[in-house]
């Protein structure tokens, strides 16, 4: 602890909050809302009514095979506050025949935002101050206005989310329940939440300025909300309302529904919601880093252990990558060689018969030529012999023809 010193005169650091706020205002604020509810329960209508703006959105079908999430970011300016509002809605929630896994995509989405932030935080070169924070600050869970009790899917989903996000349960399309039924319904819902151990967001009561109003508002949970994209002319004003043959439900009328209460509570506790989200993030980060194998051993070992773990994992990964790369290279080289060999073989075979044929023909011709030459020689010899014989015969004949009568020498 440090000693408190008195100041002898005005120093001027009481302007610090203003200095800080000036920077925050320049930077803008982020607020991310997740709406979970069945198709057609009025998520879009409520968001439009809460922020008094018609957020463009197309209605979705009931026939999606799994739950999906759709996110859109809007910039809203009020006074000198620039709010980056992200509205995430479930699409197809409650439509499937088997709803056992319906909550999983939602949990995965929330975790993915934490993961993205953690990733940025763990980078060597990071820019946290300009990072667009997408972590979900509040989850509006829409309960169907059955008037009876919570559905199993409600309990299942909320139980899986209450350790990751601030949950504010609301009753959607609450204009279909009468006032008396509504009181009973609200009581039933709250007692079911308690008996199932589901933690919902409680508006903070520690600050004396707000503790009274927050305690009262906590008693209104779950909020019975009505939203409308349309405006009805009442008197000389256009008012957000729903027009029925029996009357007009005014969205902004607190005796008609709790929409305005919800809006007020969201706005006046925005910073608290953001802070509690940071706490949820810390526990996510804790779990995640523990899974990675880090441990807080002792004061001197902390930095080393986490770094060591990360470094070891990185080396492991690098080695694995190298190994895989080598493997792939080897396989590739093998294939190339095989293919090359195949090509060579094919080429050889293609060219071989042609050459041999030619050679064979040549050989044939040569053989023929030889034979013919031999025959020629034989013939020539025969001719020579014949000429010789003829010559002898003629000489004998000439000798004989002198003395004896010609005798044919046949």
């Amino acid at each position: 602890g440090c000693r408190t010193l008195p100041l002898s005169a005005h120093v001027g650091f009481d302007s610090l909050p203003d200095q800080l706020l000036r920077k925050s205002i320049k930077h803008g604020f982020c607020f991310n809302v997740l709406c979970i509810g069945e198709t057609g329960i009025g998520k879009s209508a409520l968001m439009s009514s809460l922020f008094n703006t018609n957020f463009e959105d197309s209605p979705s079908t009931h026939f999606l095979s799994s739950v999906r999430l759709r996110a859109q970011t809007y910039e809203i300016q009020e006074g000198n506050v620039l709010l980056k509002l992200t509205v995430v809605k479930t699409v197809g929630f409650g439509d499937q025949l088997n709803k056992a896994d319906s909550y999983q995509p939602i949990v995965d989405y929330i975790d993915a935002q934490f993961e993205a932030y953690l990733e940025e935080e763990l980078k060597v070169i990071r820019s946290l101050f300009s990072y667009h924070d997408t972590r979900i600050h509040v989850c509006l869970y829409f309960i169907s206005p059955t008037g009876r009790s919570l559905k199993t899917i409600d309990l299942l989903t909320m139980r899986n989310l209450d350790s990751k996000v601030n949950i504010i349960p609301v009753i959607g399309k609450a204009d279909s329940i009468s006032k008396t039924e509504l009181q009973e319904f609200k009581k039933k819902i709250m007692s079911e939440l308690v008996s199932n151990g589901i933690r919902i967001y409680q508006f903070p009561t520690d600050d004396e300025t707000f503790s009274e109003i927050n305690t009262i508002t906590n008693g209104y949970l779950p909020f019975a909300v009505v939203g409308s994209m349309e405006k009805v002319k009442i008197g000389n004003k256009m008012v957000r309302a729903r027009q029925y043959p029996w009357g007009i439900v005014k969205v902004e009328n607190e005796s008609h529904c709790d929409t305005v209460k919800l809006r007020r509570m969201l706005c006046t506790n925005m910073e608290d919601l953001r802070e509690k989200t940071r706490a949820y993030y810390e526990s996510y980060r804790c779990c995640r880093l523990e899974k990675l194998g880090g441990k807080d051993i002792g004061p001197e070992n902390k930095l080393v252990s986490l770094q060591e773990v990360i470094e070891a994992k990185r080396l492991e990964f690098c080695l694995e990558m190298e190994r895989k790369e080598e493997e792939i290279k080897q396989r590739f080289v093998q294939r190339v060689n095989k293919k090359a060999a195949m090509l060579e073989e094919a080429e050889r075979q293609a060219s071989m018969p042609v050459l041999t044929k030619f050679e064979r023909v040549m050989l044939m011709y040569q053989e023929e030529e030889l034979k013919l030459r031999e025959k020629k020689k034989l013939l020539e010899d025969e001719i020579a012999q014949f000429i010789e014989k003829k010559a002898i015969a003629e000489s004998i004949q000439s000798q004989v023809s002198v003395s004896t009568p010609v005798v044919s020498l046949k």
Binding site: L7, A9, F51, Q77, T86, K302, E311, L343, A350
Partner: protein
């Protein structure tokens, strides 16, 4: 003759080698900057009040370091800035004490409150700086101290189960006292600022400015500014960290005209024109510390405390600390963890 079919077979073989792309995590689509027009009040602007309440509740930390040769009036100036005895004046070295061989680092913390705003102010004194015969590397203990505070913060930040509010002992501002020689900066000044301007916000001040006339002051300041520029010393507010045009215009004026602030400090009050003022009494007149005609103390006070205090902290956190962290995480593996000075070295004011 076999060109066609063989080639496509090779292509197919190649594609088998390319790995499947990894599944991307589910993240929201790029933000649609639809400027929704508002009709009717919603109440978003109440967040300002909520944040103000929160900051008032948690309070602020501010750590200011003073560096300069002894006798330049560092403690007096800090006490004048914060209008209380936050820094103990050293009485110089008497014969029994030995001049320390190296620079000592003494951090003393106090809590001060004003207008509902609580501030834990830590003044870090550096006795011995520039006092030895051989002052080479006398900035090293200071740089080491500053890095140790970054290291402390990093260790806590990296913890798995970490505190909600990490205690901040990082030096947000370093006032460097320049001797009013009237000539130029000394090699010691340049060496110190060259090394340290990269790790901490340095605000150079000309101490004991009552020894210079107005003309001498203006010339000296110009020369100092020139020398700092020539030596590539970026003092706070650094040009590259101006966030927008508004900041740049405001800071340009301060950088190019006002800084370095020529200051005089005093903790004694005198009566001038019926008012009690802080000042120094001389045979030739009373120097009023907070009179802008006499010295620029008021400018320094407004600059550091009333307008740029939060910014000093933010630049320290977002830039200097991040630079340290990035370097530390990059030189990973081989580097052993730094030994951090334990709490015993810090004087607490109990």
């Amino acid at each position: 003759p076999h060109a066609g079919p063989v080639e496509s077979r090779t292509e197919a073989a190649m594609s088998e080698l390319v790995p499947e792309p990894r599944q991307k995590p589910v993240v929201p689509m790029k933000p649609m900057g639809i400027n929704a027009s508002l009709l009717g009040y919603i109440g978003i602007d109440t967040i300002i009040e909520q944040m103000r309440k929160k900051t008032m509740k948690t309070g602020f930390d501010f750590n200011i370091m003073v560096v300069g040769q002894s006798g330049l009036g560092k403690s007096t100036l800090v006490n004048t800035l914060f209008k209380s005895q936050v820094s103990r004046k050293s009485s110089g070295w008497n014969r029994e004490e030995k001049i320390p061989k190296t620079v000592e680092i003494k951090a003393i913390g106090h809590v001060i409150e004003e207008g509902g705003v609580k501030m834990k102010l830590t003044v870090i004194d550096t006795p011995g700086f520039g006092d030895q015969i051989n002052n080479e590397n006398c900035w090293e203990p200071i740089e080491k101290y500053i890095n140790e505070q970054y290291e402390k913060f990093l260790k806590e930040e990296v913890n798995i189960a970490r505190k909600k509010r990490i205690p901040d002992t990082r030096v947000h501002c370093c006032l460097y006292f320049i001797s009013p020689t009237g000539h130029s900066l000394r090699p010691l000044d340049l060496e110190f600022m060259k090394h340290l301007s990269k790790v901490v916000n340095i605000i150079p001040v000309i101490a004991k400015a009552d020894t210079m006339t107005l003309e001498e002051k203006t010339e000296f300041k110009q020369r100092v500014r020139k020398e700092l520029e020539v030596n590539g010393i970026e003092f706070y507010p650094q040009k590259e960290f101006d966030e927008d045009l508004e900041d740049k215009t405001e800071n340009d004026k301060i950088r190019q005209e006002s800084m370095p602030f020529a200051v005089v400090g005093s903790d004694k009050e005198y009566q001038v024109n019926g008012k009690r003022v802080l000042g120094r009494k001389t045979p030739w007149g009373i120097i009023e510390v907070e009179n802008l005609n006499h010295c620029e103390f008021a400018l320094l006070r407004d600059f550091v405390i009333r307008t740029h205090l939060q910014d000093l902290k933010e630049v320290t956190h977002n830039i200097h600390y991040e630079t340290y962290r990035a370097k530390r995480l990059n030189d990973n593996g081989g580097l052993p963890p730094m030994t951090v000075e334990t709490e015993e070295n810090h004087e607490s004011n109990l």
